[in-house]
Amino acid sequence: MRTDRLRSALVCITAVFIISLSIGLQAIAADSGTDKSSGGSESDREAVTLRAGLYTQEYPSVFNALRRPSYNQLNELFAVTHVGLAVFGPDFTPEPCLAKSWEVASDGRSIKFYLVDNATWHDGTPVRAEDVKFTYEYWRDNQLYRQGGWLNEYLDRVDVEDEFTGTVYLTQPYAYYFIKSLFPSVYIVPKHIWEKVDKPREYGEPDGMIGCGPFIFEKIDRDADTAYFKANPDYFRGSPAIDRIEWKHYRTVDSTLLALKKGDIDVIIDEAPSGVLVPSLMNEKGLTIEVGPNPGLPLLIFNYKKYPLNQTMFRRALSYAIDYQSLVDAIEAGYGEVPGAGILSSCIVESNPEIPKLEFNLTRSNEILDSLGFLDSNADGIRNLPDGSELQFQVIAWTDGKDMRVAEMLSYMFKKVGIDLQPYTNELSVLQKMVWEDRDYDMHIDFHDPYMTALGFATIDLVPMQYGTCTDPQFSQLYNATMSAKDPDELKRTVYDLQDYYSAELPGIALYWSKSIYPYRSDRFEDWVPLEGYGLTSHQSWFNVEPVNG
């Protein structure tokens, strides 16, 4: 009797394991056919393979170059298969890529581009000016990302003159700005594939990854959460220095860094780990940390609709109340510096080095607040407005933990000058509605991407895709001048003017200038060419990087 029961129990347990094993086997059977087609051969094993890591919430469920949750790290991943008319140089200057040259019309409303004549799509079809026209109009008509909105607002049309020549016509004289920001970031896609696709965000066929970039997409292994790429021997700028890339997805920065330290991956795409993680990476054998300037920065943004946030002197008092060095030390473990009043990081070409750094001066802050009549009339430690109400504000910290730490530190600092600042966070969608749609906030902290967009997107209501509230005509005029600049010199001059305005009026305050921190396995590959703020896996890196030990 007991033996029977024991036997029954064993049978049950064995059955459970067989079920789970068979599910695993079924998964293997399902994809063994596709695995045979790629990788695994002797020659592949000898190839130079880069193992890269990417940390983000998830790989997109539909893998095509036009499907990204938003503008994030996947942008850099798709940059291995796709290129734009230009690529960013190390200082964010647009350098020729698919377009070998371009000419800007004297009125700044059109750009004539000349394509290279030896570019082909990964399926062998030649790249033509028709593809460029199709791409720009397709991004515009399908409202793809921020670029789609910009194109919708300012792209008039693209005319094709011959196979390799075309002209982009704009509704405003923003040609140079267009070249600087959209030529590198709008990836050209093959017309013969995408013209039959009505819903680019849902397209999941393999040809959705066909580009003309230095690598060819092979497959994505969902079980391994890894995307595979192989070098494009026909790439028009020459063959890349490595043969294959295995791009593995991780959900957290911690697991990505552990994988790097352990040697499971060689490099991390795009996102730089925070400075506070650097000590855990130091003294790791075979690991090198590339530290450079970061053009991206956190900004404190004010709502001009609210009194006294719309008063320059009040904003100045707040700027004196911030201990910038403490923020650098606590948030970035010292990997950063006190920012300038002109916002733009000193590493940006157009940044004016003459603009003074922001100053932490509690005495000055208190003097200004006193002079404005904001006194602590009820002696509760918080200053009062002339009508008796407390000087109390809310600062929105987005859902990232770093934002909340910054908000808490600001709250602590402002308390010292008698201002009550309450950090506030909520569901991302709630915050987005408050900031983007209702513009109902006092202050918010936003971490801006690299590049000079911080000057425009943060604080004014001039061009689309902004959340600002400042409607000062002088500011709009200055910003418009930067957009209308016709060459690098004019751009620099106009950006200088805009930085002067920032310094004088403080519509937003840079909280610190951080460093780019890029750890990589120097025992596997060397000679990376970083694009500061966007990581080591730049376009230039694919031709420069060298495997260690041959």
Binding site: S61, G149, D223, A224, Y228, E427, Q432, K433
Partner: protein, 324 residues
């Protein structure tokens, strides 16, 4: 109709009503959350800039219709076996769930079984030897494990066994690039740490219930009778005490199976294991209503079926229910 058939019929009716209420709730609750599924699809730039595009998408997915109409359409779809189309994944919900569920079952089925065995065996021994050194040692150890957050123990295991000792992989389901038996070996190797963590946590829970149950049962008079009959201690435990002490654990183990599809979220994240836990997490962030409906419904169905099976097993093994 026999008493047992009548009992089962009443249970089926009760479960059907419960399922209907769950179906209604999983339809309503995601819609009560702030946010919009199209923010994640379009990105916030496009979403706030192009209200006409958002309206067109809402119309396409039927989200512009009145709520009762959407509800009826949803019920009609369920009757046809159609769970809908995931906005975030751009795939049929059923396809997304079956893929993720496969990996959750692979991970959690062995964990639940091992946790049950470990909990029953050690709980019985401890309960039977209450206050002795074995009991004290095991209880202390299990209390220590039980008081830790799942994810913390998972991270600890990753750090020790995967990073420092290097005997297991850091994360993932498989390393990729393998086929056939080598892939199976690789999956088993990747499973080792998450299964161990989940087993330990499941076992601690089962252990304390089993231990308490054995302690309680050992005071019953039938135990005294068994001893008086001259049975060995081992026979008293395994032939008399264990059978009665198992009753509360049947429910717990059944519920373990029910909750296993949703209960390993943090462990899945630590080990980058793409199962149901991470699917639900991503679906909540994306406000993907169809995917949330489907996922919650499948999870609820698991819980209900497990409960129902527990009741059936009860009816079979418990003479008091047999007689009702």
């Amino acid at each position: 109709m026999t008493a047992r058939t009548s009992y089962l019929a009443r249970q089926i009716l009760r479960y059907s009503i419960t399922l209907f209420i769950i179906i209604t709730l999983v339809f309503l609750i995601p819609r009560m959350m702030p946010g919009d599924p199209f923010i994640s699809l379009l990105g916030e730039d496009v979403y706030y800039r192009s209200p006409e595009l958002v309206s067109a998408l809402k119309a396409e997915y039927g989200l512009d219709r009145p709520l009762p109409e959407q509800y009826i359409s949803y019920l009609y779809g369920l009757l046809k076996g159609d769970l809908g189309y995931s906005i975030h994944c751009s795939q049929p919900v059923w396809d997304v769930i079956t893929y993720k569920m496969k990996w959750t079952v692979v991970l959690l089925l062995p964990s639940a079984v091992l946790a049950a065995i470990l909990g029953i065996v050690l709980g019985s021994i401890s309960g039977w030897q209450r206050g002795q050194r074995t009991d004290t040692s095991i209880t202390t150890l299990f209390l220590f494990i039980y008081s830790m957050p799942h994810y913390w123990l998972a991270m600890f295991f990753v750090l020790i066994f995967a990073f420092y000792l290097g005997v297991f992989p850091l994360s993932g389901i498989t390393g990729g690039g393998l086929v056939g038996w080598r892939k199976l070996q690789d999956i088993l190797w990747h499973m080792a740490l998450p299964v161990t963590v989940l087993t330990l946590f499941g076992a601690t829970y089962n252990y304390f219930i089993m231990r308490g149950s054995v302690v309680q049962a050992s005071r019953e008079s039938y135990v005294l009778t068994a001893r008086a009959k001259g049975l060995s201690e081992r026979d008293v435990l395994f032939r008399h005490v264990l059978r009665n002490a198992m009753l509360p654990l049947v429910t717990v183990i059944a519920l373990d199976f029910g909750f296993m599809v949703s209960g390993a979220l943090l462990v899945e994240i630590v080990f980058s294991w793409g199962g149901m836990g991470t699917l639900v997490y991503d679906a909540v962030l994306a406000r993907d209503y169809p995917l949330l409906h489907g996922s919650f419904l499948v999870i609820a169905a698991f819980v209900l079926v497990s409960n129902f099976l527990a009741e059936v097993i009860y009816a079979v093994i418990d003479p008091r229910i047999k007689g009702r």
